[in-house]
């Protein structure tokens, strides 16, 4: 050692150093936590701060400045992730805890018609409204979305028009939902007079929000279809349009279904456009083309706006049902995507 052998590596902290520092930080923060009676959240937060100071400091002494900065950033990034996830966890916990007591069979099977004060009300009319409006929106937007994707992938390719449409689809994903609602409102008002409200207006607004999502996901899936399949079909003398409908679309079907379900799950929770154009009503309305129609998100909003304990209770119950719907749709989308995805690459 003394004869001048060069060390080409720095001194490094052992691999378990962060774990040790973390444990020490938890213990250090635990002392005031015990004395002041902090909750677990405050305790962990304090421990994080201690860790973010102690770990870089230790590293600074042993490993040098650059490594210390690296350790600090690593700690900060882990912390940022933890903080970013915490609202989701908190929100889901609150929705389940506050919503669960409101849910019973009556809540799901009766409407708010003639419900006064603290009587048991229900979301049946809102569920029905959400179902009808969303299905109508899907009927409008899915064909347009898929055919546009076919145009982009099979026909337009890199032409000027195709590039413009791709760009516009991207821009369309950013349209605020309230603007979509106002558009549908302006359309209906121009056609049927200023007081006209109907569920179909909600469907038009939602389809405007759905189309870009459907186009994007379908396009992506169709691009994954290998050209060999298309060429094999052409070689057999099959015309282009049959190649598209019989080869390309079936091959990418699973991916397209996933995209559509995700798009539905995105718009099913939309409130603002439906509030503006479909309005709200207490009873069941199954006619999309006439009269106000309540949807689940609008139900939640109007119960919240009533600012009464029972209103809040109903709002939380509705929120739990809505979140469950969205999560189930998400899950279905993932399962469909996963179940059929591996087969299509073959």
């Amino acid at each position: 050692m003394t004869t001048g052998i060069m060390h080409i590596s720095h001194a490094r902290l052992p691999r378990w150093a962060p774990v040790l520092a973390g444990a020490v930080a938890l213990a250090l923060a635990g002392l005031p936590a015990l004395l002041a009676g902090w909750g677990p959240l405050k305790w962990v937060a304090a421990a994080m701060v201690v860790f973010l100071v102690a770990m870089p400091a230790w590293s600074r002494v042993v490993e040098g400045r650059r490594a210390a900065v690296d350790r600090l950033v690593t700690g900060l990034i882990w912390t940022a992730f933890a903080i970013a996830v915490s609202p989701l966890v908190w929100l889901l916990y609150v929705v389940v805890r506050s919503g669960a007591p409101a849910i019973n069979t009556e809540f799901l099977s009766i409407s708010m018609l003639n419900v006064i004060g603290d009587e048991q009300g229900g979301i049946y009319h809102a569920l029905l409204g959400t179902l009808l409006i969303t299905v109508a929106a899907a009927i409008i937007s899915v064909p347009i979305g898929i055919l546009t994707a076919v145009y982009l992938v099979e026909y337009g390719k890199t032409s000027r028009t195709a590039r413009i449409i791709t760009f516009l689809v991207d821009v369309m994903t950013g349209i605020p939902s309230i603007v979509a609602g106002l558009f549908a409102l302006a359309l209906l008002v121009l056609l049927f007079g200023p007081a006209f409200r109907a569920g179909i207006g909600g469907s038009i607004a939602l389809s405007l929000l759905m189309i870009p999502t459907v186009v994007r996901s379908s396009e992506e899936m169709m691009r994954l279809v290998p050209d060999d399949l298309r060429e094999a079909s052409y070689a057999l003398g099959v015309p282009k349009w049959r190649t598209v409908t019989r080869v390309v679309l079936p091959t990418s079907l699973a991916g397209i279904v996933t995209g559509v379900v995700l798009a539905v799950s995105r718009v099913i929770g939309e409130t603002a456009p439906l509030l503006v154009v479909a309005g709200a009503t207490d009873g069941v309305n199954t006619n999309l083309f006439d009269g106000r129609m309540t949807t689940l998100p609008v139900f939640i909003f109007s119960q919240y706006a009533s600012s009464t304990p029972v209103g809040y209770q109903r709002a939380w119950g509705g929120a739990l049902v809505l979140i469950a719907l969205v999560m189930v749709l998400n899950l279905i989308a993932r399962i469909v995507g996963r179940m059929f995805a591996p087969a299509q690459g073959q």
Binding site: V73, F81, I140, L147, F167, L168, I175, F183, A272, F301
Partner: protein, 316 residues
């Protein structure tokens, strides 16, 4: 919109021999569908303008408590910009950190799953965010209002703190949470596209992981990060329910974002006032919606332009 029925119709005609007719019909249908997108966007503008122009110049009573369109919309614009700015300031560092966590820090196998968790945040309906923000988050953030007023009270936006926390500031925090997923998704995408050789070269030269990210990943991803931020801005400008439900609003002009009396954002104002709208008021609300549409459209165009200008196409 109903032209989609034609493929089935032509199918039976073409069975005898492969004719060009089916092809031509299908190509037309597909083109029409694609042009519908264009038509829809133009229609949004045209219909909003057709219904909204009356709102720009009605008699002054419509704009109560103000007297002109400019007076009516000015406080709304100020609120919209303030809320969006606060949301971005809070959200951008988190979005970049979370994206880095998923692309470079988390164990490789966990990365995709953690990305999915963040995407779940985007799946939560805005009305639920509003409910949570108004009933829970506002209460928890109230002490923060007091702190901001006590320590940063000399900044005009931190005036008298709200006693229940239902302020523009809380709304902005909810917005920050809501725009996090889209910004994370875009940043994550570009971080993952950093050329592997650049990263490995940096590490081979002895860079620490952070130095590698600073000198190899960030320069490469800059335009993507800018685009993601602008998309987040577009979302924040147009988000309605969270603001409408968190904010206790009054139509005054104030810069104070932590007080009880902030004007709502443009979008929230529409949702809060559509109900008691006379036809004139309705036109006025549609006119404000037109302003919102034009602004968000331009922001989104700019974002996509920045994203597209860089060598990589983001969404491909």
């Amino acid at each position: 919109m109903t032209t989609t029925a034609s493929p089935e119709r032509t199918e039976s005609v073409t069975t005898p021999r492969p004719s060009r007719r089916g092809d031509r019909a299908f190509a037309t249908v597909v083109r029409v569908a694609a042009l519908t997108i264009l038509v829809a966007l133009v229609a949004v503008f045209v219909f909003l303008a057709a219904e909204g122009w009356k709102g720009l110049t009605s008699d002054s009573a419509t704009y109560a408590p103000f007297t002109s369109f400019a007076g009516y919309i000015a406080p709304l614009i100020v609120s919209t910009l303030l809320a969006s700015a606060i949301a971005l300031v809070v959200s951008v560092p988190f979005a970049i950190a979370v994206a880095l966590f998923i692309s470079h820090y988390a164990p490789r196998r966990l990365g995709a799953a953690l990305g999915y968790v963040i995407d779940l945040l985007a799946a939560v309906p805005s009305v639920v965010f509003g409910l949570w923000g108004g009933r829970y988050l506002a209460g928890y953030l109230q002490p923060a209002h007091v702190w901001l007023h006590d320590h940063l009270g000399f900044v005009p936006i931190f005036g008298e703190p709200s006693p229940n926390g239902r302020s523009l500031f809380t709304a902005a925090i909810v917005l920050a949470i809501m725009i996090l997923p889209i910004m994370t998704a875009i940043s994550r995408e570009v971080f993952l596209q950093t050329p592997r050789l650049h990263e490995e070269a940096a590490l081979a030269l002895g860079a620490t992981r952070w130095e590698m990210i600073r000198y190899a990943v960030f320069p490469h991803a800059r335009s993507g990060m800018v685009a993601g931020t602008m998309l987040g801005l577009g979302r924040a400008l147009g988000e309605t329910m969270a603001v409408a439900m968190v904010l206790a609003t009054t139509p005054t002009t104030t810069l104070d974002v932590i007080g009880t009396a902030s004007p709502p954002t443009i979008a929230a104002n529409i949702a809060l006032n559509y109900k008691e709208a006379t036809p004139e008021r309705q036109s006025l609300l549609i006119a404000t919606g037109l302003v919102l549409f034009v602004v968000t459209f331009l922001v989104n165009v700019a974002a996509r332009w920045v994203a597209g200008r860089s060598a990589r196409r983001l969404a491909r």
